[in-house]
């Protein structure tokens, strides 16, 4: 594996950095755009970065994406998991907010698992949904469309759907991307994936307090719920939120993250 590559917007991705297998189609993640297909002039794909960040390749899934810097602005990319808030509903769609001051995204009334005209979820203003970005459209006035099912299978993979209870914490989009990366790839590593061990550590420590559920949206929102926490439910949720926001503010190493978790849990008086 070559050394890490940092790209700036407009930079082309060198072909030696792309996953080499030709069996599956190459999947482009956030921050990358396909400029041209292989042709007579250039024999390979021209892929360029639209955001600054570290190029990350996943040979197993044949995917490549940009690990962005911890910024606040989220630009929807098809395939991203986001946490959206219902703004209002119309006969066919729920109008959702992915980022507060950006145009609203559309979520079909029937794009939930097993939803029919009679069984569709009745969501009201202020409810939260965990959804996947289906398409972002092209050109001016294009609308972002969300979905809560996998269009191929009709199933809600990965816990898509309405989120009830719990609490939402705001983090940077960079940290959200790292959290998703850390949770999607299995395999025990000493330093954690993408330098994050905080969730593993919290999971271990909060096991006795009933564990917790977490959903990470690429739009910089993290939903946390400790429904089985009993008396500790609120404190554990707040502790997780504090851990995440502290890690977001100060880039912490894995040992510091472990120390932070222990300190905050002690501070919140949670037994572990």
């Amino acid at each position: 594996m070559a050394s890490p590559l940092i790209l700036l917007p407009g930079d082309e991705v060198p072909s030696e950095y792309l996953p080499s297998s030709n069996s599956a189609p190459l999947r482009l993640g956030a921050g990358l755009r396909l400029l041209s297909q292989p042709s007579a002039i250039s024999p390979s794909h021209v892929i360029s970065a639209t955001q600054p960040g570290l190029l990350s390749t996943d040979n197993k899934r044949n995917a490549v994406s940009i690990l962005s810097t911890p910024n606040r602005r989220y630009v929807p990319t098809p395939g991203d998991l986001v946490i959206a808030q219902i703004h209002h509903s119309s006969p066919d769609y729920f109008h959702c907010m992915i980022t507060p001051q950006a145009p609203q995204a559309l979520l079909g009334q029937l794009s939930f698992e097993g939803a029919t005209k009679k069984t569709r979820p009745m969501l009201k203003q202020g409810d939260l949904v965990y959804a996947r970005v289906l398409s972002t459209g092209l050109g001016a006035g294009a609308e972002v469309e969300l979905t809560c099912v996998n269009p191929a299978t009709g199933r809600a993979d990965g816990g898509l759907g309405p989120l009830t209870g719990g609490m939402v914490f705001d983090v940077s989009t960079g940290l959200a991307a790292r959290l998703i990366k850390a949770s999607s790839s299995s395999g025990e590593q000493q330093d954690g994936v993408a330098g994050l061990v905080v969730l593993d550590e919290l999971g271990k420590k909060l096991e006795k307090a009933g564990g917790f559920e977490i959903a990470v949206g690429r739009n910089g929102k993290v939903w946390v719920d400790c429904a089985n926490g009993g008396d500790y439910a609120v404190k554990a949720t707040v502790a997780i939120g504090r851990c995440l926001s502290t890690i977001d503010e100060h880039e912490l190493s894995s040992t510091d993250q472990r120390k932070l978790v222990t300190r905050i849990l002690r501070d919140m008086k949670i037994e572990s």
Partner: protein
């Protein structure tokens, strides 16, 4: 588009439930401020205030003008605050929202109307010329409790600011540049600060220094303006659900404690800045004695 993002139902419920267990989102106590940092720029009257994630810059400036006709002995002091898109994506340039009017009004009442700056001392020549002191507040990041942060900024700025020296000679006003004569500090009569309380659960839970999310989830807010001596110079409850009068009585002691604490932080920052300036500054140069 120019609206503060509304809270989701989950967030609102959670904040309330957590407060019922005396837990705040950042692990603070109910009457604890976020970490406050006051720093000063190169020039006099240039203050940076960082209160948690809320940050703002205050700039004090002065110029010689003609006093108002009805108050020939008084100088002019104005506080200008504008919420621009620099502070939050929810604000739009050039459009005045409710928050802007509210914060400007409270600042005016707490600092200007309580005569924190003695405007009579700004008079240079009766009815002819006086100093016009202006405080500009620029918000650079917004995470709740703008009122207290802005008050801290303006008060720190007034205490830090030095205006050029001016004298009257033969009916002529002469203003000396800052490099000609040691500039003069403003005459501060007292140091009022505001403390904003937010109430939840029909006034049963009261917290200070709310973050943006806490502010949005709250029912009502109460602003108290006090100085170090405990004189209440401002008290308001503009909107929201009713709050029992006992809350005001009980919380005024908390407010006094907070005002003393914050004034302490400002004083410490001022002294540190003064000590830094004393080395190699104009004061040193213009002193008659030397090290020998």
């Amino acid at each position: 588009m120019n609206k503060e993002a509304p809270l989701s139902i989950a967030e609102r419920d959670f904040i309330l439930n957590a407060l019922r267990e005396d837990v705040r989102l950042d692990g603070r106590q109910a009457d604890q401020f976020r970490p406050l940092n006051v720093s000063f720029g190169e020039e006099y009257g240039h203050v940076k205030v960082q209160l948690g994630k809320t940050s703002l810059i205050v700039r004090i400036s002065s110029e010689v003008t003609k006093p108002h006709d009805d108050r020939p002995f008084d100088g002019i002091f104005t506080i200008a605050l504008e919420l621009t898109a620099m502070g939050s994506p929810a604000w739009e340039n050039g459009r005045q929202g409710d928050l802007e009017t509210y914060v400007s009004n409270v600042l005016d009442r707490v600092i200007r109307h309580s005569n924190a700056l003695d405007t009579e001392s700004l008079c240079v020549l009766k009815g002819v010329s006086c100093w016009n002191v202006r405080a500009d507040v620029h918000i650079t990041d917004y995470d709740g409790n703008l009122i207290d942060a802005a008050c801290i900024g303006v008060m720190a700025g007034l205490q830090h600011f030095r205006r050029p020296d001016a004298v009257v000679k033969d009916g002529q006003v002469i203003v000396y540049g800052v490099d000609e004569r040691v500039p003069v500090a403003l005459n501060i009569t007292h140091k009022p600060l505001s403390v904003t309380f937010h109430t939840f659960d029909e006034g049963k839970r009261v917290i200070v220094d709310a973050t943006r999310k806490e502010e949005q989830a709250s029912e009502a807010d109460v602003v108290m303006g006090l100085n170090n001596a405990g004189d209440v110079c401002y008290l308001s409850k503009f909107s929201g659900s009713p709050v029992s009068a006992m809350v005001f009585v009980n919380k005024s002691s908390v407010a006094l404690e907070k005002v003393k604490e914050i004034n302490g932080i400002i004083d410490k920052a001022l002294q540190a800045d003064l000590a830094k300036r004393a080395k190699g500054g104009l004061m040193e140069e213009s002193r008659a004695t030397n090290d020998r």
